[in-house]
Symmetry: C2
Subunit: 306 residues, 2 copies
């Protein structure tokens, strides 16, 4: 198996790379914790070389197709956004080629997608590649896809076309509240067992039911501990359920306009939590592994280049 090109997902906190042969099979995979957030622009070439060194000879010729935050303004080289509505069939044509001195590697960084619609301004970098991958995994799919995470993306798709999208800061809210707010006092403990399940369901219901009261219901994490003797596992799961529930409840206008099966692109564990929430509204979902979607997207983008 000869590596023909290299697929790279270079995010804020880490990077992953896969060697791909002429048949589209993976020849190797590699990873590093040197995400965009830890690097100055001039550091990227060396990191890429180091990550690939165990797998490729120093004089190897290879295209390297990169998606994610490496293309942000503060990344390696800015890859200007495509404007939504956007046809992802043209994603690769917007790629930029950062210099890679003294190497036969030819890196190209895919653009993100922005939405300039007044009042709905939004951006994504990396998720557009997963959406392109999704369109390859589910050919002809049209409807809503959800990519849960630090900054969840809700995307209205028609084949390879992104019609519109919205970011919900659910994962980041969970992290900052869990770590820095008064709620942290109620959360020290493990996350397993029945308590966790009961807390998650209670939070999920409260969030879906009344997303407009999120900032009030958050305080129930604290009062659960103070008044109802709720255990840390219950409180942490309530917080998680509440935030996911409020995300789903807040997107109810999107859901009601579609009501089709929703692909969830992300980790199996996180997607399962979203599936429980959607189920409460009578919406079916199916989980698409995030890495599979990213790889399928990079392969599809590469095909458009050749």
């Amino acid at each position: 198996m000869k590596t023909e090109w290299v697929a790279v997902d270079w995010g804020t906190s880490n990077l992953r790379a896969w060697g791909i042969d002429a048949d589209g099979e993976t020849t190797f995979s590699a990873a590093s914790s040197l995400g965009m957030g830890k690097l100055t622009p001039d550091a990227f070439p060396g990191v890429l070389r180091d990550v690939l060194a165990p797998e490729l000879s120093a004089d190897a010729h290879a295209d390297v197709l990169i998606c994610g935050m490496a293309g942000a303004r503060q990344g390696w080289m800015e890859a200007p956004y495509l404007d939504a509505p956007a046809d992802l069939g043209g994603l690769a044509f917007g790629a930029v080629s950062p210099p890679m001195p003294g190497s036969q590697l030819r890196p190209r960084i895919l653009p993100g997608v922005c939405q300039k619609l007044a009042g709905a301004e939004d951006v994504m970098r990396g998720e557009e590649t997963q959406i392109l991958g999704l369109s390859a995994i589910l050919p002809g799919f049209g409807g809503i896809a959800v990519l849960p995470g630090t900054h969840s993306k809700w995307v209205a798709i028609n084949g390879r076309r992104i019609e519109r999208f919205a970011t919900v800061m659910t994962g980041e809210l969970f992290e900052v509240l869990r770590t820095h707010s008064v709620l942290r006092l109620s959360l020290n403990g493990d996350l397993n067992g029945e308590e966790r399940d009961a807390g998650f369901e209670a939070g999920l219901g409260a969030g879906i039911e009344a997303p407009e009261k999120l900032a009030a219901t958050l305080f129930k994490v604290r009062t659960g501990a103070l008044l109802s003797n709720r255990q840390p596992a219950w409180c942490a799961a309530f917080l998680s359920g509440l935030l996911i529930g409020a995300e789903i409840g807040g997107q109810r206008d999107w859901i009601e306009a579609d009501r089709g099966e929703i692909p969830l692109v992300g980790s199996a564990q996180l997607c399962a939590l979203y599936a429980r929430g959607l189920k409460r509204l009578g919406i079916e979902s199916r989980v698409i592994d995030a890495t599979a979607a990213t790889l399928a997207g990079l392969k599809a983008a590469r095909q458009n280049l050749s």
Copy 2:
């Protein structure tokens, strides 16, 4: 003017004390940054003594009536909550008397108020004293009062009676998002001028209009900077307006059920921002200084004791 007793507001982050004479006039005021959050239970007597030492002789006899977090479980001595609905005329009867060895000071700590209603569990400590003060400042007032702050309180009042209340974590959300989230990248800058005003109004409108989309609209702080070249002052004010707007929008059921003038108890600056939001819904408000309410409340509680 002879100090007859001492009124103390002992919160999480600081404490303030006022000497009061027989006519209810203030004989001195003192303050310390040694709030409950920085003290172990055994440290409270020494701090109280030190704060009052410049004003009272070491052998002075005086009652010291305390409200706030000094009465929390992790404070000086726990003053068990009154249950809402609660008549604040009885607030002083729930006070606890912590020991003050080797001193003629007789401290008493007022209780907070809790609400055990399923799904609406809530707590306050300190605000109940401001509500009691409000009932003295606006005799016979019935309706909704709002106490904006780190943990804003919405309180349905009938004279001295708290019918029900709800906490909204607006101020704390502002702080943790401003300090610890990705939004911080868009906020470094001053908060003055026209940019600030425009950003606040934009956020306020978005929050009131669609409080259920708070976690999504938060991301507009970031995209405002990335896509629309919004300045840090605009972004910070948008965040503030959005959170206040979402608080008001999320409490719309309370507001619509009442529609009367709303007393706002807090700092003049913060209350003015809430007044702008309420005005958008056609609701009048009036500002009551937080310190005046606290002092009036401590005096009213003291009267009930004597």
